[in-house]
Symmetry: none
Subunit: 400 residues, 2 copies
């Protein structure tokens, strides 16, 4: 029996409430002063909470593997990211708040430049402005295909999202983007026979798009990547017997919460508004995922001081979260984003769980180094939800 | 997706270089003075390196399982030793520098003594000298079999190695050695129908060998064990996108490196020569496995002081290795060989990884006890290569 099957068998409905705060890109590495962002920041509330919690480190996908945001969140929601694969196209659609339905086929698109022979001269069409992108998407919007609805959605710069909706669409498709200049766009091919029709439809769309874009400069062609259908993830209500809410400011994270079957809410402008919203939802749900973005953005920008400041902002919201008196309060991240790397990394991420029925440990600070000594040790991401469920007294005993 | 599949999907070619130093039989147990060999030895360079590294303990096969040299090394090279099985015959052939090809069928042989009825009276023929062994092998060398080439190779004392080469050979064969005196040699049987012909060929060879040995004393018969073909291990170049080199003094370890697809080099006479050779190869490869044998030999002999001295010899080679400025430098063992046990053991083995993008930990000594507190904790052997790849920035992110 895997984790999900165990949860499905053992989870019970109770009035207890769980809050999971996910600080995106939480973990870091020592900067020039030899301390990490968490160590440099002044975090009185998180440190106090850590002292009253069980701590550990979370490894979301596997040892040494750097998680994308999708796999990182899925693991925290209880789903093994090596089993449930979120295609790039799906993530792109979720990231612009598009309501992807089961069976929709989504692709990430680039506008690009090709010469008269169709050879790609610039994969990003000179990084056209988002406004130009919107105009180009309008040009392509009324392309029709037999038996399916077509959505052409601008993203940012040269990126757009293509979604086909209709019966019988299948993933298992190759990409048109050769990922190199000096080559031509490639036709989509089906990796399995059931996907033949989907491949043909996408190829028809690409041909029609190329026709419409003829003569445009610099963007006169499209490239498609990550063609995928929405993964079939069993809802958290089914697996955990929960009525879960997702509170996030950015569409991507609301999208990921939707995939797990949460009811999603727009978090407003900052973590304080997210917490205030959570308070208004308190009686309607028994599980709350609250997403905090700022730490990751600063880490990606390589801005150590700003990441530390972002963590202090999160810290300032902790008292209001504790005032809600959740039975289980967890704080962790979906992956590390060390400022000195300016990117996601593979390093395990601090984790704390506050609840009445906890094993005591000696961690007094919410940092990478301190959490390593915590009682949970290093756990896979998919252990986070079972631990939450157990501490919320929502799991029956296994066997008699 | 398992580790190998993940690596295959995520590994990227970069100029960074990885050095893996494997000190055979590295780990130990406390001797009469209450300290282990690593604790008793004076290891200023390894301790300094540990202080600048991330540390942990490696468990090569599974908790409580004592690894042979084959499984121990395979795990470090990234291959699950419970999935990839190296037969004894294969290991025996590798150990005498025989160039085993894919499809070769190898067996470990004993010369033994039987009475007039064929009943085994001494499974090791009175432990005959290696020189006698060589003469006996000569006697058997020109036995021919239909459609296959036959190699009869002396090993040490009463042990030899039989290799059949030709199309269609299969493993899945039982052994002829009943492992007890007072019984007769048994015919080889095929465990699966495809191996019937291989079984028949081996039985023909045994019959012809018995004929040739009739009248010899004390060795007048052969026993065969561990009949196996070379395991089909995907090359490290394929899995990790590496161009790997193996540097070792003893043939067994060059053989194991060959199985993983490394280009192998004879390491010379001692660790200093091995490091000097590594330096000359520096521009030709991006991964270097450097094998150090002396610690294991001393441990097997139960010589605590000699094992400590061997570790000091390894320590003296560390500065020259660091001078190469590898992006990732790892030191570990393939298993423990505690002197007080005079044998391999199941105890997890110290591991250090030095690289720029490491998580800090507080380990300041390269010993069993100190490494236990390291940030990696206790990891399976197959996590070593992924960690090396991640820290060498040779792994793409998983998912978007």
């Amino acid at each position: 029996m895997n984790n999900l099957e165990l949860m499905r068998e053992l989870s019970v409905k109770t009035p207890s409430k769980i809050v999971m705060v996910v600080a995106d890109g939480l973990g870091g590495l020592p900067g020039p002063d030899g301390v990490t962002e968490l160590e440099a920041a002044n975090l009185p509330n998180l440190d106090q909470l850590a002292a009253e919690s069980v701590c550990g480190l979370v490894q979301h996908v596997a040892t040494a593997i750097t998680p994308g945001s999708g796999p990182g969140h899925l693991a925290l929601f209880g789903y093994d990211p090596l089993e449930f694969d979120i295609g790039r196209g799906v993530l792109e659609a979720l990231g612009i708040d598009f309501e992807l339905r089961m069976g929709d086929l989504a692709a990430r698109g680039n506008f690009c430049s090709v010469d008269d022979d169709g050879v790609i001269t610039d994969r990003r069409a000179g990084r056209i402005a988002t406004a130009v992108n919107a105009e180009l998407c309008k040009l392509l919007r009324d392309i029709t295909l037999d038996g399916v609805e077509v959505f052409v959605l601008p993203v940012e710069g040269y990126r757009f999202c293509l979604v086909l909706r209709g019966p019988g669409l299948q993933d298992g498709l190759t990409e048109t983007d050769p990922q190199r200049e000096g080559m031509k766009s490639m036709p989509v091919q089906a990796r399995r026979p059931e996907a033949e029709r989907s491949a043909a439809l996408v190829n028809q769309w690409v041909a029609k798009a190329a026709e419409r874009l003829k003569g445009q400069t610099p963007a006169n062609m499209v490239l498609l990547r990550g063609l995928a259908t929405r993964p079939n993830i069993p809802a958290m209500s089914e697996v955990f017997n929960l009525n879960p809410a997702g509170v996030a400011i950015y569409p991507m994270y609301r999208g990921l919460a939707t995939l797990a079957g949460m009811k999603v809410y727009h978090g407003g402008h900052d973590i304080h508004e997210e917490v205030a919203l959570t308070k208004t939802l308190w009686n309607d749900h028994d599980f709350f995922f609250v997403h905090f973005k700022n730490a990751d953005s600063a880490g990606e920008d390589g801005d150590f001081a700003r990441k530390a400041k972002a963590l202090e902002l999160l810290d300032s919201a902790i008292p209001a979260i504790r005032d809600l008196k959740p039975d289980v309060l967890m704080v962790t991240g979906d992956h590390a984003t060390p400022s000195i790397l300016k990117a996601h990394s593979w390093h395990p991420v601090p984790f704390l769980l506050n609840a009445q029925w906890r094993y005591p440990d000696d961690v007094r600070q919410f940092t990478e180094r301190a959490c390593r000594a915590g009682e949970f040790g290093r756990i896979p991401g998919t252990d986070v939800m079972p631990l939450a469920m157990a501490h919320a007294m929502k799991l029956a005993k296994y066997g008699a």
